[in-house]
């Protein structure tokens, strides 16, 4: 056999943007994981400052941002709050990130959190006399299952009818909110003696214990950080393991990257879509359970506090990688916790945080934009993530 000549050819497949490269990349290089996001955050803060000037004046910037920073990082209390807020963000972020990895856009984390949180609360006050060691996992599991159901529905619809999950999950969000309003006024659920929609409080045996309570700070029960934070970190590890070390994860990623090749390889795209949406919903449901069992102690309308939408930004910022999601969640937790302090101590309202977060997403989603502004070189091009309306 004659030796085949060395043919130098243009690599095929480099032209059109590679599927998940931008949001769920293989190699995490420093530029894309640290520098660009940092610059994105910086840019967002700068633009945020512009908004402050526009509404409150130039001298409002410094007190606002100082309050923001101290509320997020300075002192045990701030750190506790930051991590506390980060906890449901981690879980919801994992939910969205898992979806992205499989090419699915789960905007329904809000609704899944709502359903999960509600079911967790019901489990929380329904079983009297259980020891905490049983009640807590039971209630968390209930939240997991509630969210799983709310993720299963759009997953099934997408797999079987091609109905795009962006629309169905958003619709299910609204349906979840209205259902919550209704259920919270039902006799067995509504709190005694109340006429507004608010649930009974959960039993103490189902509340997630605080982990920093031994620190001698702050009256009224101490710092609020609870065990849910550790649960969230554990789930981050589980999702990592699932995605990169198991056959399931390989299938999810393949279906996300190229469903045709996945099918050729013997994978069931239908099963993958349904499974991913269900697991994604379950994670979001856990976030809901976390909030209700760890912080609020009950369910009331709006308890999800737009965490599900933040989760989208998180997943993008964290490149749909569990580690990245954790870091981004802490960042967003810092923004929120700090934002509350900012709202209280300065005249700038908390909606500014929403703008900053949106800007962060913009800058993250358009890395070329950041590069252009700051003249940072390198990196891969792309952006294409989802598949449009068709299956």
């Amino acid at each position: 056999m004659t030796q085949a000549p060395e043919v130098v050819e243009k690599p095929e497949g480099e032209g059109p943007p590679s599927w998940l490269e931008r949001v769920a990349p293989r190699d995490i290089d420093w530029r894309s994981l640290v520098i660009i996001p940092s610059l994105a955050v910086l840019s967002a803060l700068i633009v945020g400052a512009v908004f402050i000037v526009f509404t409150e004046g130039l001298d409002a910037i410094l007190p606002a941002y100082r309050a923001l920073f101290s509320g997020a990082f300075l002192g045990w209390s701030s750190i506790s709050e930051t991590l506390l807020v980060a906890t449901p963000l981690i879980l919801a972020g994992l939910a969205v990130a898992l979806g992205f990895r499989a090419g699915l856009f789960n905007i329904g984390a809000e609704g899944q959190m709502t359903v999960g949180g509600l079911i967790a609360v019901i489990a929380g006050f329904s079983f009297d006399g259980l020891p905490a060691i049983v009640h807590i996992p039971l209630a968390l599991l209930a939240g997991f299952l509630g969210g799983a159901l709310w993720g299963f529905i759009p997953g099934l619809l997408r797999a079987k009818t091609g109905a795009h999950e962006v629309i169905t999950t958003i619709m299910l969000n609204f349906i979840a909110f209205r259902s919550l309003d209704y259920i919270l006024k039902l006799p067995g659920i509504q709190a005694e003696g109340r006429f507004d929609p608010i649930s009974q409080p959960v039993l103490p045996s189902s509340r997630l214990p605080r982990i920093l309570a031994w620190l001698p700070i702050d009256g009224a029960g101490g710092l609020r950080l609870h065990v849910g934070f550790l649960v969230a970190l554990a789930m981050a590890w589980v999702v990592y393991w699932l995605l990169f070390k198991t056959t399931w994860g390989f299938e999810f990623r393949a279906v996300g990257a190229n469903p045709h090749a996945a099918k050729y390889g013997g994978m069931s795209v239908t099963v993958a879509i349904i499974l991913v949406m269900t697991l994604s919903g379950a994670l979001a449901g856990m976030a809901g359970g976390n909030e209700t069992l760890g912080v609020l102690g009950r369910a009331s309308p709006g308890f999800t506090a737009a965490i599900g939408f933040d989760a989208i930004a998180l997943a993008l910022l964290g490149r749909s990688h569990p580690g990245g999601v954790v870091l981004s969640a802490v960042l967003f937790g810092a923004l929120r916790a700090g934002g509350r302090t900012m709202q209280v101590q300065s005249e700038v309202g908390i909606d500014l945080i929403v703008i900053i977060q949106a800007l962060i997403i913009v800058f993250i989603a358009a890395p070329e934009l950041v590069r252009a502004i700051y003249r940072v070189r390198g990196g891969k091009e792309t952006g294409q993530l989802t598949r449009g309306w068709s299956t």
């Binding site: 056999m1 085949a4 050819e9 590679s18 293989r26 198991t246 990257a257 045709h260 090749a261």
Partner: protein, 502 residues
């Protein structure tokens, strides 16, 4: 009109696609541009057509330098291009496709004068002998007719120089003759023609002059009168090329694949495969010849489990796999090299390790239960890269970093390295370099000699003639001929491919 490309150079990251290319075309002549896949022909033509800009060199028309900012400029200058992959909007009708971009309009709002357009199309159609129905919707039309539309498009814009990029890949040998008649007619009408192909026989037949491009450089010119296929091939590739595949006679044994009365619908619910029956035995290569679009794609997809047939049966040995999934077929040691390697065969953003276990990850040794053993997969990948001569610095690069030929070798490596009972290879050497083609052909014959049953589906007649022990011809969803490989000729097969056997 005289068109000259002088010293044209174009670079992409890591590769020089065109290197100081000189080419001249005059009105009334047919210049052939010959080169293998990846030699730079399409890049050169894209520069000519204004889709790319050359890094160095110039374009001259009648001695004047011209610069094209986009296809609009090239079209205005009288250059027309009939692309290899048709640039037709499937949901528009013929007229709309022809006038797109140069629509005749009436009134200030840009209302399209569709009647005028239709008349214009009919006029060109009859003048140049290109029969089309102006109101037919393009996606319903057969490929040969679509090609005529592309030619009408070019003539509608009053092109003086027409470039044909691989125009015959979708035609039967008879249709190629008709097509050549049209091309000669255009030459008589004074058009200058650049004819791009990698098919040596056609080049010798149609061109007045042949320029050979190899790795971006013009390495020689040839006159059809004096050149032979062998010297053209050698110029094209840079070394003597074996145009025939070395193989010993087949020794077929028991029947492995048995297809009976298969009916498969395409997405538009027509019977793409319409009552097909055939067998493939262990130790033989069966080739299915036919112009693309006669049901071969659907046939292979149905056999390999990617789509479900409507009626009929497919058996492996005595196991019914008619409705079986790709996974089941994999478990039965069926290997499939798919037609569209980037869409079906690879996940471009995955690395080579992941791609090499794409269809075998689910079982030992690459996984136990739900847990993947990536170390084992990596070992396997390193071995295969070595064995199958896949040119890459590392197994951890993404598949998108490989050239077309190496991507195909990767898929072949993945499929052939297992125990294989049946191999189904669809268009196995489409769009890849000669070296890789030779390699893959060799491996296919080796597999056959080790006892596999091999089914090849290819629209390259030469490939089928070279490889197959037994040849079936597919036309409009049916098998219309069966010929032993040793007796088959291109002419006979061509007749069957055009429907003569029906």
């Amino acid at each position: 009109m005289r068109l000259e490309l002088k010293n044209v150079t174009k670079r992409f990251p890591g590769v020089v696609a065109n290197d100081s290319v000189d080419l001249t075309v005059n009105s009334g002549e047919i210049v052939g541009l010959l080169g293998e896949n990846g030699a730079g022909k399409t890049t050169l033509m894209n520069i000519l057509y204004g889709l790319y800009e050359a890094d160095e060199g110039e374009l001259l028309i009648d001695g004047r330098q011209v610069r094209f900012a986009g296809p609009g400029d090239a079209i205005a200058a009288g250059i027309g291009m009939v692309h290899q992959h048709f640039m037709l909007v499937p949901v528009f009708d013929v007229t709309e496709n022809v006038v797109l971009g140069v629509e005749p309009t009436r009134g200030p709002l840009g209302h399209i004068d569709i009647d005028q357009a239709r008349d214009d199309v009919r006029e060109i159609s009859s003048k140049y002998g290109l029969a089309v129905d102006p109101d037919a919707v393009v996606e319903d039309l057969p490929v040969g007719v679509q090609q005529r539309i592309e030619i009408i498009k070019v003539l509608f814009r009053e092109a003086e120089i027409i470039v044909f990029d691989e125009p015959t890949s979708v035609l039967t040998p008879q249709e190629v003759e008709d097509f050549f008649a049209i091309v000669r007619g255009l030459k008589e009408a004074g058009k200058g023609i650049i004819f791009i192909t990698h098919k040596l026989g056609e080049m010798l037949e149609i061109a007045d002059r042949i320029a050979v491009l190899r790795r971006g450089k013009i390495v020689g010119e040839a006159e059809p009168g004096s050149a032979t296929k062998e010297n053209l091939a050698e110029m094209m590739v840079g070394r003597p090329v074996d145009l025939v595949v070395d193989k010993s006679p087949a020794q077929p044994k028991e029947v492995v694949l048995s297809v009976k009365n298969l009916v498969v619908q395409d997405e538009r619910l027509h019977n793409a495969v319409n009552d097909v029956s055939f067998e493939v035995r262990s130790g033989e290569i069966v080739g299915i010849a036919g112009v693309q679009g006669n049901g071969q794609t659907e046939l292979v997809e149905a056999i390999t489990g990617l789509i479900l047939p409507l009626a009929g049966s497919v058996m492996i040995g005595d196991q019914d796999i008619t409705l079986a999934s790709p996974r089941k077929l994999h478990q039965l040691d069926v290997a499939h090299v798919p037609e569209d390697r980037q869409r079906d065969g690879l996940v471009l953003s995955f690395d080579l390790v992941e791609n090499l276990v794409l269809d075998s990850y689910y079982a030992k040794p690459y996984s136990k239960g739900i847990v993947m053993d990536w170390d084992e997969a990596r070992r396997h990948a390193d071995e295969l890269i070595e064995q199958y001569d896949i040119r890459t610095p590392s197994a951890l690069l993404t598949a998108s970093s490989l050239s077309g030929g190496n991507q195909q070798k990767l898929i072949v490596a993945r499929e052939f390295a297992r125990d294989t009972r049946l191999i189904i290879a669809s268009q196995p050497t489409r769009g890849i370099d000669v070296g890789s083609i030779e390699y893959i052909h060799q491996r296919i014959v080796e597999e056959r000699d080790e006892g596999a049953a091999v089914l090849i589906v290819s629209s390259e007649l030469d490939e089928v003639l070279a490889l197959a022990d037994r040849i079936l011809v597919m036309y409009r969803g049916r098998i219309v001929a069966e010929v032993p490989g040793s007796e088959a000729t291109a002419t006979d097969l061509g007749l069957f491919m055009a429907g003569a056997g029906v």
